[in-house]
């Protein structure tokens, strides 16, 4: 009976400790992780940020800080993944963009990139202006203004006013559609991004989806690839310099994942 009570008591104690640990608010966990980072305990900081993400707090700042901690912990490829993810969540995150450029340069050197056409560049420029969430808010604002102008157009009597309101409403409509497209595409990319980063070690790009396929190229950790086709367990990818080939699924981590760190 005594032993039973001890067991019961200790179980209770453990449960309560776990509950206390659990009761740590995400804000506290975030600042704890920052403190660990500042104490140069990068590995522990990585663990804290990662836990925050795994609990569902998907936030650009968490990815940004995790990227920094990973870089300091000599995992440049995973850091690149985090910065990319941070930019996916918030395309206007300047510091993430700067750090991504820096880590890319130090880890991979100057990469050759296939130039993109004007429309894609314009689209990317536009999406870098604000996060996709801001695009959704922007859409609502533009929608409201558009509706007001539209009403004014429909009820105004004089021809001159009607012309002005018509032109304005057309412009607003275009802006509104762009904002909606930006926010939808941003949201879609977070959930279904076809981009992936080589995270763990250099992967062999093969000409066919099997282990005997001739090697096309080696892709270094940190390289961003775009997935063209999926044929479990193989992926057909294209690298930034335009090379195509098949890699095993497990050698890359897609950007729609929660964390670049594989589950232990």
């Amino acid at each position: 009976m005594k032993t039973l009570s001890i067991i019961l008591f200790s179980t209770l104690w453990f449960v309560s400790v776990a509950a206390i640990a659990q009761s740590q608010t995400p804000e506290e966990q975030f600042s704890n992780a920052n403190a660990l980072y500042n104490e140069k305990k990068y590995e522990e900081a990585v663990g804290q940020y990662n836990e925050l993400l795994r609990s569902g707090y998907i936030k650009d700042e968490v990815y940004y800080n995790l990227g920094n901690a990973l870089y300091r912990n000599n995992n440049a490829a995973a850091a690149i993944w985090c910065y990319e993810k941070c930019l996916l969540l918030n395309a206007s995150h300047d510091d993430a963009a700067a750090n991504l450029a820096f880590v890319n340069k130090t880890a991979l050197g100057n990469q050759e990139v296939v130039p993109q056409n004007f429309f894609i560049m314009a689209w990317n420029w536009l999406s870098a202006q604000m996060s996709w969430q801001w695009w959704t808010y922007f859409f609502i604002i533009v929608l409201a203004v558009f509706l007001i102008v539209l009403i004014l157009f429909l009820i105004s009597a004089s021809n001159k006013n009607r012309r002005i309101f018509f032109l304005t409403s057309v412009i607003l409509f275009v802006v509104m559609i762009l904002a909606l497209a930006q926010s939808i595409s941003g949201n879609y990319n977070i959930r279904h991004s076809k981009n992936a980063i080589v995270v763990n070690e250099a992967a062999q790009l093969r000409s066919s989806p099997d282990q005997d396929g001739t090697g096309v190229a080696m892709i270094q950790p940190g390289i961003k690839v775009h997935i063209l086709e999926m044929k479990t367990p193989w992926l057909r990818v294209i690298t930034p310099d335009g090379t195509q080939g098949w890699v095993p699924e497990e050698s890359v981590v897609r950007l729609n994942a929660v964390s670049p760190l594989l589950m232990e």
């Binding site: 936030k59 650009d60 700042e61 920094n68 510091d95 700067a98 880590v103 929608l143 009403i151």
Partner: protein, 622 residues
């Protein structure tokens, strides 16, 4: 190759008188106290007007002699055979050192054609005991016949007909000081061909070949032990000692094909003589004399030499010293003192002179922190002379200001060791003020950021929400969008309704004007049939007036007999109908108050009114 010495000899003979040379030499650099030394001043290329001898402090002058010759000759001076080349004058002093120590015999001066020439100084070390050390550079164009009583002469034939010597320009140097080693081949025979077998490895030295293999070796003749030799300087190397201590240079090995004549008294100058005596080759000498020779391949080695390298003195060594040794000068400049951010400013430091130029390194100049700069470009312009390497070495620093403002570039002081004075020299360099204006290229600073490190983490706690709770594209979001559209639709509907209502009221009244009029006419008819005259007239005029207000949406109060006609005319009703309408109106008013005085019958008035209303209706509707 056979004619090589012959030809060189010819050129030598012709060009020697072209330049004036005045040099001093001694036969020994180190002598014991009880021995004698000879100091020779040689002037070539001119005739001396005056000769001023130096003061021979520390020495007793035992004898002096001088001679000059306008042609090649051999004369006996003090019982010694002296050979002179054409146009040479010599002054020979025999000296006995008084006590031990190091002495420098100052330069002698001669005046040639009104100009004064100074010779070099000669340094002599007098030791208390020991043997004499040969003097470097002693084997000059002409050599004094060795004195049998004195220690062995510097250039010793060793009884050989072909031999090689290595002659350093200095046997004692400072670390980093430049000197040369000359390899000279002495021969009494023709040498048809030679090749260097093994070049000595000169450990501890930085070396640079001075001999140009494309041009012929410098040659001259010398007499040793009464024998005439052709001398060729086959190799000359500039050396810079890189460490202190006694360093040795191993011998150079040469393989030569030597033509040994069968006759014992063969003279290499016979060809030379022959050429001058009988350029047409018709002398009695057998033209096939060359065939009476034996060809022999010989290996010839030079003497190994040792150089004593003194370390640079610690005393007086400036802080800025970083290994420059020689007689040097420095110039600095910046190419502009006003620029924009992102532009490049060039700072040049040009070191020139004679010394260890190829080994000179730059010392970091004081460059403002906001300037980007890289290791300088090194531009060398070296000349190989018989004294070694001289020229310039330029360090070009490319400075790139990134921030606007006023800055100062302070090149650090340049210092070097001058081996001829044995002193360090330091040169202070000027400062340069550079005004930097803001340039258009702003990517410089961002690139600078890129080069440093990642940016710091963001420590402000963001709004942390579970990703499933975000507002964007949530149900609430779409509801908000739908509500907005709905609100707009409602507002629009409301406005449209009001407009429609307004439009409807006037249209309805217009539409109803006819019906109202008919109804009133009908009532008037019943009053007429009942014989109620007053009511009849009232109703009839009401029908007409109200028709007008309804039809043309004019308030009743604004209507009068006078403006009714105008209103009708304005509404496209023909003039006669308008006229008649106003007449009927007038009639109605009149008969209402005086029924008996009616001009028209009651029935007629009624019919006319109905007819007119229909007419107005059809015209005004158009």
């Amino acid at each position: 190759m056979k004619t090589f010495f012959t030809l060189a000899c010819l050129i030598f003979g012709l060009t020697i008188s072209a330049q004036i040379k005045f040099a001093a030499s001694s036969d020994y650099s180190t002598v014991p106290v009880n021995s004698k030394i000879k100091v020779t001043y040689t002037l070539s290329g001119g005739n001396a007007e005056t000769f001023t001898k130096p003061s021979f402090d520390g020495f007793q002058v035992l004898g002096q002699s001088s001679y000059s010759g306008s042609g090649g000759m051999q004369i006996i001076v003090n019982g010694q055979l002296v050979q002179s080349s054409p146009g040479e004058s010599k002054w020979i002093f025999t000296l006995a050192p008084k006590s031990a120590g190091t002495y420098t015999i100052g330069p002698a001066r001669v005046k040639v054609k009104g100009q004064t020439y100074s010779s070099n100084s000669v340094s002599i070390t007098v030791t208390n005991s020991g043997s004499a050390v040969k003097s470097q550079g002693q084997t000059n164009n002409n050599t004094v016949q060795p004195d049998k009583n004195q220690p062995k002469q510097a250039t010793s034939s060793g009884g050989k007909e072909v031999f090689m010597t290595a002659v350093p320009s200095k046997s004692s140097v400072y670390e980093g000081e430049q000197f040369t080693v000359s390899y000279r081949l002495y021969t009494r025979y023709d040498i048809s061909q030679y090749g260097i077998e093994k070049t000595p490895s000169m450990d501890g030295f930085w070396t640079e070949e001075l001999t140009d293999t494309k041009t012929a070796a410098k040659t001259w003749e010398e007499t040793i032990d009464g024998k005439r030799y052709m001398v060729g300087e086959i190799r000359k190397v500039a050396l810079i000692a890189q460490k202190a201590g006694t360093l040795s240079i191993p011998s150079l090995e040469l393989e030569a094909i030597v033509q040994i004549p069968n006759q014992q008294n063969y003279n290499p100058f016979s060809i030379f003589d022959q050429f001058f005596k009988d350029p047409f080759g018709s002398s009695g000498i057998d033209p096939f004399a060359g065939f009476g020779t034996t060809t022999e391949k010989r290996k010839i080695s030079s003497n190994p030499i040792s150089i004593s390298v003194r370390p640079l003195p610690e005393q007086g060594k400036p802080e800025s010293f970083n290994g420059a040794v020689g007689t040097l000068e420095i110039e600095t400049e910046v190419d502009r003192n006003k620029c924009f951010t992102g532009d490049a400013v060039v700072l040049r430091m040009k070191v020139s002179g004679n010394g260890n130029l190829p080994l000179i390194e730059y010392s970091e100049p004081g460059i403002p922190e906001s300037f980007e700069w890289f290791d300088p470009d090194i531009i060398d312009d070296f000349k190989k002379t018989s004294d070694g390497i001289s020229g310039t070495r330029t360090f070009e620093f490319l400075l790139q200001p990134t921030v606007p403002g006023d800055f100062t570039v302070t090149p650090s002081a340049f210092s070097f060791f001058n081996p001829s004075t044995g002193q360090y020299q330091s040169v202070e360099l000027p400062e340069y003020k550079i005004k930097v204006l803001k340039g258009s290229g702003s990517n410089v600073s961002s690139e600078k950021m890129l080069n440093e490190d990642i940016r710091h983490i963001h420590e402000n706690i963001p709004l942390l929400m579970l990703s499933s709770n975000t507002f964007s594209f949530s149900m609430l979001y779409w509801i908000l969008v739908a509500l907005l559209i709905l609100a707009a639709a409602i507002i629009l509907w409301y406005f449209r309704k009001r407009i429609q209502l307004k439009a409807n009221v006037s249209e309805y009244r217009m539409h109803m004007a006819m019906r109202q009029a008919r109804r009133r006419l009908k009532t008037a008819k019943t009053f007429l049939d009942q014989g109620k005259d007053e009511e009849y007239y009232t109703e009839l005029s009401k029908a007409l007036w109200l028709y007008l207000t309804d039809k043309f949406t004019i308030p009743f109060s604004e209507l009068s007999l006078s403006n009714a006609k105008e209103i009708l005319l304005r509404s496209n009703v023909p003039a006669e109908i308008s006229e008649e309408f106003s007449k009927i109106l007038d009639e109605c008013e009149f008969t209402r108050f005086a029924p008996a005085a009616g001009r028209m019958s009651q029935k007629e008035l009624y019919e006319k009114s109905a007819d007119l209303i229909v007419k107005v209706q059809t015209h005004a509707a158009k």
